[in-house]
């Protein structure tokens, strides 16, 4: 074979070999665990928004005492005509039902949150059977919870936790997850919400999960205090305000709309920058207490 021809043939053959080698060496995703029978209380480490957005999640569960981002708080069978379809409905058709499937009282029950405990920093996500499991008749879905913080940064990235969230709101370490305010107030004037912070950090007031759209009936500070008082009492589980505690009605303005947020704070020397929650706790802190290992994902919010 002439040298020139040999060079051409060798060049082409090596290029083709290189192409085939690269095309066949892809790292396909692993199948993971089955999605037909999800279990309550399992924890998983989902690190990218695409994993959290997927219709099904077969990633293997991890121990809840190790770093994880989601925890299953509800498992149920998909109801209604959607479940009758032989081919799994698409992502939007299933996700649009998430609010009705996952947002009943089961989340508060799982967290041991009372009606006046703020769960503002939590987010839920639902997962359904994989197409293969669906075609074999599986219709069970799971609702997972993640903690996205109350610091007001607006980031959707969840925190990696190293403890279970089951019953957390009855424990002292729930202060790390509760919504508090570094509010600025002037005597005689309405307070406004300042920087948000978890209650485990120094703060001026703690949210009692009672928010109202501002109208004329709430024009005066006294009216706002009166509006908030019953909710603060319910939060504290008392009939009258105890000594050293006060109602803090805060105004929040978002996109031009004002909202009254009822909060509770300390009076006197403890009023400035207190730490911890005022909620009556009925459980001991977990051993070791829950820790937040930072948000997953990169980039500034």
């Amino acid at each position: 074979m002439p040298r020139k021809v040999k060079r051409h043939v060798l060049g082409s053959a090596s290029a083709a070999f290189f192409a085939v080698l690269l095309l066949t060496s892809c790292a396909a995703p692993e199948a993971g665990v089955g999605t037909a029978n999800p279990a309550l209380g399992q924890c998983r480490l989902l690190q990218s928004p695409d994993e959290a957005d997927a219709v099904s999640d077969p990633s293997p569960p991890v121990a809840c005492t190790t770093e994880h981002t989601v925890e299953t708080y509800r498992v149920a069978q998909l109801p209604g005509p959607v479940a009758q379809q032989s081919v799994r409905p698409n992502q939007q058709q299933l996700r649009v039902r998430q609010s009705s499937l996952c947002a009943d009282g089961s989340l508060r029950a799982y967290l041991a949150a009372r009606p006046r405990d703020s769960v503002n920093g939590f987010a839920t996500v639902s997962f359904f059977p994989s197409p293969q499991d669906w075609s074999q008749g599986a219709r069970a879905y799971r609702c997972d919870i993640s903690y996205r913080g109350v610091d007001g940064t607006g980031s959707d990235a969840p925190y990696a936790l190293d403890g279970s969230l089951q019953g957390i709101m009855g424990r002292p370490d729930s202060a790390k997850l509760r919504l508090c305010y570094l509010a600025s107030e002037e005597p005689g004037k309405a307070g406004v919400t300042g920087r948000h912070a978890p209650c485990s950090e120094p703060h001026l007031a703690e949210d009692v999960n009672a928010w109202f759209t501002m109208d004329r009936t709430l024009a005066e500070p006294e009216l706002r205090t009166a509006k908030c008082l019953p909710y603060v009492l319910e939060f504290l589980e008392v009939k009258a305000l105890p000594q050293g505690v006060r109602v803090v009605p805060l105004l929040s303005t978002d996109n031009g709309a004002s909202t009254l947020r009822c909060a509770v704070g300390r009076t006197g020397e403890g009023a400035a920058l207190s730490v911890g929650t005022l909620a009556p706790l009925n459980a001991k802190a977990a051993e070791p207490p829950l820790e937040l290992a930072g948000r997953v994902g990169g980039g500034q919010p």
Binding site: S12, P29, S48, A54, V55, G297, Q300
Partner: protein, 546 residues
Amino acid sequence: MSIVEETRTSNGIRTRRRAQQSRLRRITTGLSRTFGPGTLRPAGFTAVAPLMGFLSALFMVVRLFVPGPVGMADQGDGQRLLCSLGVMNVRPWDYENFTRFIHPQWVPHQYYGEGCAAGGPLGTDVSSQWLLLWPAKWLTGFLVAPGLDTRVLGAVCCLAFGLLITALMAVLPGRRNFRILIAGLVTVVSADGVFADFFIAPYSESGAFLGALALVVALLHYWNGRGLRPLAVLWVLLAASFTIGTAPQAASWLPVVVLALFWTPAAGRDDGGSPRPARGRLRRFALPLTASLLLGAFTVGVLATQSPRTTELTTYNAVFAEMLPHSPTPEDDLRWLGADPALASATGSTVVSANSAVYSPRYQEFRDTVSPGKIAAFYLTHPERLIGMAERGIEGVLTPELGYLGSYPQDSGHQPSEKDRRFPPVLFFFTALRAFPVLYLALNLAVILVGLALASRHGSAVGRVAVLLTLASWAQFWAVMLSGGQAEIYKDLIVTGYMSALTVPLFFASACLLGSRARTAGPGGDQSSQPSSRSRRRRLNSDVTS
């Protein structure tokens, strides 16, 4: 004014005009001496080819990395392409912050099931862009840390670009300076931020750009008729496979490449210019036929590997984002497609819109009934609708800057969504054309006419490539408009824009070769070594240079 004065004045004007014409001729002669093609024969591989390739790659590197890196922010497609490489983007979870900056770092990650892509037959969208991503991943692990850095991908793309410019220099006809000029123009077009920024991005567009350039090189080589013909066909096949493999819409290259393969160098005539006997023709077409069949099978394979979810989204956008919003009777259109007219309430939506049709109980019927083939049939029976679509598409091509995707890293000090305009010649050219879109059509027509004239008179490979690239850009244009349409028109048409921009250097080269022949070729000037009278005419002997 007297007659004498008038005569003097007109004589003066004539003299000045002659002097001006003489000056102009001297300038054009000077330019011809320096940059004129001189000959239609390719110079082959000379030392200047790798030097030009190196300088082009260096220019691209400097343009992309100095003073800081620029790229194209991801809008979500990146993960679908890269997750199968086992990497995860280090990025904010919030979509707005995600798209406002580039996030070049991807770290190793194990995906499970549908966590990676939309769960197609192979679990992910398949793309020949992996041929660039895998070396980038390997190099990232070797140079930085395990994972993939799209800045390293940018360097790999610059290297590939440099190699292609080297190859282009080897297959271009003409003298050294002419080839440098054409390769330089190709580099200038490719270095515009609207295209080059895709080198540092998790998209398949960079592969599509490089693939188009590789096809230009391979087809020039094929039509130059030098070296072994089966190998020339093999290079065309490899370049076409890579380009078609980048994305489903690149399948539009198939008919163009098939046409190119059958447009054989000698057009079925023997050396004396007489038609070849049938047996010779059959033998001549056997190789292109085999290659076309192989390429057809490959294209079908590529389309079959796309996930059903991708097909569903494409169909949805073609109907609800493109067809219905520009229809006088959306209900009738839906009826024609076999879908429920009540779905017209979702006109203008995408699947994630609040008024998306996916929430309707009638959507399942739509999904089962409407297919890309049915949409194509609709437009075949409603050709008047293609006019408006073409207008929207041309505006899309001439708006190549994706303003909603940032160009800079988050920590670079640049504003969110700020665009890179370090080197914007194509952006300026296209923006100017947008004021008179008819000029875009005129440019395409001019490229085809000049290319055809050059190809028919001299059998020039450059003329043929100019024609084929223009046809390919239109094939890609319609593939985009009929499949995705308005939903993400500017990004989807960027490859069409690149091909259109590439036709400008080819148009220039064709015009030079054609003009040079008309002006400079004279009797006895042929120095071609080819024996036939037809091919004797191929080599242009420039009396300007001799």
